[in-house]
Symmetry: C2
C-alpha cells in the first residue's frame, strides 16, 4: 500500500515513524503545516510532537492554512509546544492560552499569510509538515482535502516532512488547481475569470532533496459538526433569500446570482439549504471552504460549480463525495488559499459574501473576533478578504442570545474587524438592514428599526438620539459607548434593571 | 477658440452660459461631477448651481471623484444645495454641515463608487457635469487634470453637461488611459502588470445625444498648498527612508523599491522629497494623486514613471508640467479611480503604501477620518484601497500636537478605518514601529517604545500593563479605553493634571 503511494523509489528510505519525524522538529523552529478548516491536516506528526513536548522543553511557531482537526491545536497548546500561532484557530484550549497571554497569536487575513512569507515580511519556514495523498515519480505531491498554504510551505521550507494518508483515495488527484503568482516585481495576471477556471497543475512541485521524513497514516479528517437549521438561523436565511429574490425582481441580479462565498457555520448552512427549494439555479461558489450544503446543492441540480481551498464535511457527506469522486470531479476545485481568497479575484468575479459577526453596531461596524473587545474567539479568517471586495457584503448574527441577556446589536462594537465601509447588508433573526447608499445616521435608523432585538430597541434608540443631540457625522457618546459590555460584565446581562 | 475644442459640429448649438446649464439640474437629482483632489473639477456650472440654490429651494445628491477645488463644496453647502455627498470631501463649511447632521455624507473607498453605480447598488446618476479639454469629432471627450469617476458618469448618466476648459492645453490628450472592466458576470482581467502599462483609449466615450449643455471656461485648478518639510515631517520621513535602506540591505527590496503610493499632505511630500538625495533610483508610483514631489523626482532622474487618477500641484509646478508636457508625457498616466485604486492591482504590483492617520492605538488600529470618534475630518479616501492590499502598509502621524495637549497614539482609537490586520508599519516623529509578524501584545510593546510622545509614554504603558493583568488576546480596559479623549473634551488636554 505504501509503495503505491510513494512513486519516487529513492524516497522509500525516508519512511519513518511519526515519533521519528517529530524528532526532526527542533526547539524554536517555524513549522508550516497543511490543514484548513480541519481538512487535510497533519494527523500523526504534530500529535507526536505534542507528546514529545510533554517530556522535553520545546516551543515552535506554527503556521497553517487555517484551523486543525482532531484537537491537535489543543494538544500542542496543552503540552506547551506553541510559542506563536498563525493565521487562524478554533480550539478552546489554544484560545484560552492565547487569551491568558501564554501563546502569541497572529490573526491574519487568510489570503495574506503566503504573501507575507514569500515577501519575507515574516520569518521563513524551517520545516513543513504536509499531508498528501501520494508522492509522484517527479517528487511532486498530491494534496488531500485542502490546499491551504501548502504550496508556499513546499516551495520555501528548508525541510519537508510528508504524511501520506492512505485513507484518502488516490482518485482525489485532479480536484486541486495548483497555481502561484510570480514573485515581485514580476507578478503577472492571475487568469481566473470564472469559478470553474483551472489554471495550474494537479500536483504541488517539491524538491525531493528537501524531504527529510515520510510517515504513513490512515486517519480521516475530523468531521464537520452539522447543525440543523433552527428558528433563528431559518429566519436569517429567509431574510437573505427574500432579499435575493427582490434583487432578481429589480433586475440587479439573475437567478444564478453571482458566485457565493459563505463562512462556516449554522447560518451559512441554513442559507445554502434554503436555495434547494428556491427558484435560483445554476449557482456557483467561489469560497474558502465547501461544506455539506454545497454538495447538497450540487446533488439537487442547483449548483454548477464550487471553488474553495478545502472540503470540510460530515462523515456521511465525506463518504458520499469520496465514493463518487467522478461525479463531483468536474464540479469543484480546491485552490491555494492565496488564490481562493485573493481580493482581486473577489472583485473580478463579483462575489456575494455571507459571513458571521459576533456583534455589530448602529453604524454597521462589525466585530468578528473578540468577546468584549479583549478575548479572541477564532479569528478573522477569510471574512475580510471577501467582505472588502465583494459585489455584496452581508454579515449575519442572532439579534440576542443567552436568554436575550446579550444583544449582538450595540451602540459601538468593542473591536472592529470590518468597518462600515465594507458592510452592505446586516441580518439578524429580527430582520434585514440594506445599508447600500446610506450615510451613518441613516444606517443607524435602519439597523435599529430592522435588526435589534425588541428588548433592546428602546435603549439603542435612546443612545442614538442622545448622541445625535451632541452632533457629528457618526454620533457617539464615548463615555457610554461600551456601557452595554460593561453592564454585562458587572451584572451578567446587557439589560438595564 | 471654442470651435477648435468642439470638433463635433452638431454640438455647437449646445453651447450656453453656466447659469443656463445649472438650470438643467433639477431639485432631487443625483449629479455626478468630475473632480479629484481639486483637479479637473467643475469651475463654473456647480458654482452657478450654488448661486441658484441661494434663491430657490434645490437639493441634490452630489457624487464626485474626490474633493473639489475653488471652495465649490463650501458654496454648495452654504447655499443648502446638498442633500447627500459622496465619496470624499475636504471642505470646512461642508464638513461642519455634515457634522451638524444637515448634509448626509457617504465616506467611501475611492475605488468603490464607480463599482456601486455600475452594479446598481446605489442610485443611478441623473446628470453629469464633466470638465473636458475638448470634444472630439466622434463625441468622445478628453478629460483634464483628473479622470476620477468621469468614465462611469459619462457612460451611465442620463444627461451630460460639459465644461470645456480652454486653460488646459490640448496637448493633455494622451496622458489619460481610459479603461473600464466589463460588467458582471462577464468581467475579465485588467491587464496592467506595471505602473507604465497603458491599456485603454485616450478619450472617454460619450453618446453625443446625451449632451444637453456645453459651457466654456478658462479657470485653472485650485493650486495645491505646498507645506515645506518641518522638523516633525522630516523626522518621520527620515525614519521611513532609514527603514527602506535597511530593507534593501537585507535583500528584501532593491533600490527601486516597489511602486509607491502616498496620500496627500506634508508627510508624503517630505518622504518623497527625501528620495531626491538618496541612493534609491528608478522609482515608480502607482498612486491616486501626483503632487509636486512626483515631478521633482522625475526631474531629478529618480522616478521613471508615475500612475494616478489626478495631478494636484502648486501653481509653479502646474505651469512647469503643462509647458513641458512632451517631457512628462511618457512618464505619467492618469487613470479612472476604480483602476488607479483597484485592490487587485495594488496586490499584483506590490505597492508600498504611505498614508496619514489622525490617531492610532497600541495595537495598530488606525483612525483616518474622525475627531473623537464622532466628527468627520475628510474621509477614508483611497487609504483603504491601498493599505489592505499593499506589499507594505505604512501609516504616519505626529506623536503629539497642539503643544502636546493631544497624543495621536492612544489606548484605543475612537473610530477604526484600518484594522490591525492592515497595518504593517507605524511612524511618528519619535520613531518607527515595525509590526510585521507581531502578535497584539508585541505590537503594543513596540508602539509604546517607539512611537508615543514621551509625555504620554508612562500613562500608555500603565494602561497596557493594567489591561494585561485582566487578560485577553488584545487586552483593554473598556471603562478607560476612551478616557484620553474624554479628558481632552473636559479639560482641553489629554494630559493628566
Amino acid at each position: 500500500m505504501s509503495l503505491s503511494r510513494i512513486r519516487l523509489e529513492s524516497l522509500n528510505s525516508k519512511v519513518m515513524s511519526a515519533q521519528e519525524a517529530a524528532a526532526l522538529i527542533e526547539d524554536g523552529m517555524v513549522v508550516g503545516s497543511s490543514g484548513f478548516t480541519k481538512a487535510g491536516d497533519s494527523k500523526v506528526v504534530l500529535p507526536a510532537l505534542a507528546e514529545r513536548a510533554k517530556i522535553e522543553p520545546l516551543k515552535i511557531t506554527l503556521i497553517t492554512g487555517a484551523s486543525l482537526g482532531h484537537g491537535t491545536d489543543g494538544k500542542l497548546a496543552e503540552a506547551g509546544a506553541l510559542a506563536k500561532r498563525m493565521p487562524f484557530q478554533v480550539d478552546r484550549i489554544l484560545r484560552d492560552k492565547i487569551n491568558a497571554g501564554e501563546i502569541l497569536y497572529i490573526d491574519q487575513h487568510l489570503s495574506e499569510t503566503a504573501e507575507l512569507i514569500h515577501n519575507k515580511n515574516i520569518a521563513g519556514v524551517d520545516i513543513a509538515v504536509l499531508e498528501v495523498a501520494c508522492i509522484e515519480a517527479d517528487g511532486s505531491i498530491v494534496p488531500t482535502t485542502s490546499v491551504g498554504n501548502s504550496v508556499t510551505f513546499a516551495a520555501l521550507a528548508k525541510k519537508v516532512i510528508l504524511e501520506v494518508n492512505t485513507a484518502v483515495p488516490l482518485e482525489i488527484k485532479g480536484i486541486h488547481d495548483i497555481y502561484q503568482a510570480e514573485d515581485y516585481p514580476r507578478r503577472n495576471v492571475i487568469p481566473i475569470v470564472a469559478s470553474e477556471n483551472k489554471i495550474g497543475r494537479k500536483t504541488i512541485a517539491l524538491d525531493p532533496s528537501k524531504i527529510v521524513g515520510i510517515v504513513m497514516s490512515d486517519i480521516e479528517d475530523s468531521p464537520a459538526d452539522i447543525a440543523e437549521p433552527d428558528d433563528k438561523t431559518t429566519a436569517i436565511a429567509n431574510h437573505i433569500l427574500g432579499f435575493f429574490e427582490n434583487e432578481v425582481k429589480l433586475g440587479h441580479l439573475t437567478e444564478s446570482l453571482l458566485p457565493l462565498q459563505a463562512g462556516i457555520g449554522k447560518v451559512a448552512n441554513a442559507v445554502l439549504t434554503g436555495f434547494k427549494n428556491s427558484n435560483f439555479k445554476n449557482l456557483t461558489m467561489f469560497s474558502e471552504v465547501l461544506q455539506d450544503s454545497t454538495f447538497d446543492l450540487i446533488d439537487a441540480g442547483k449548483m454548477d460549480f464550487a471553488s474553495a481551498s478545502s472540503i470540510t464535511v460530515s462523515k456521511a457527506c465525506y463518504d458520499r463525495v469520496f465514493s463518487n469522486l467522478d461525479k463531483y470531479r468536474d464540479k469543484m476545485v480546491l485552490r491555494p488559499q492565496n488564490i481562493s481568497n485573493t481580493p482581486g479575484l473577489v472583485r473580478r468575479l463579483g462575489i456575494i459574501a455571507i459571513n458571521t459577526a459576533i456583534e455589530f453596531d448602529i453604524y454597521g461596524n462589525v466585530n468578528s473576533t473578540h468577546i468584549s473587545g479583549t478575548k479572541i474567539m477564532n479569528g478573522i479568517g477569510g471574512s475580510g478578504d471577501f467582505a472588502r471586495n465583494a459585489y455584496l457584503s452581508i454579515f449575519v448574527a442572532q439579534a440576542a442570545s443567552k436568554e436575550n441577556k446579550i444583544s449582538h446589536v450595540l451602540p459601538m462594537v468593542s473591536h472592529v474587524d470590518h468597518t462600515e465601509h465594507d458592510v452592505d447588508i446586516l441580518v439578524t433573526d429580527i430582520g434585514l438592514a440594506d445599508l447600500r447608499g446610506l450615510a451613518p445616521r441613516e444606517r443607524a435608523k435602519k439597523i435599529i428599526e430592522n435588526c435589534v432585538h425588541p428588548d433592546y430597541r428602546e435603549e439603542l434608540q435612546s443612545y442614538f438620539d442622545r448622541a445625535c443631540e451632541r452632533g457629528g457625522h457618526t454620533p457617539h457618546l464615548l463615555e457610554e459607548a461600551f456601557s452595554w459590555h460593561l453592564r454585562l460584565s458587572e451584572t451578567g446581562t446587557m439589560k438595564k434593571n
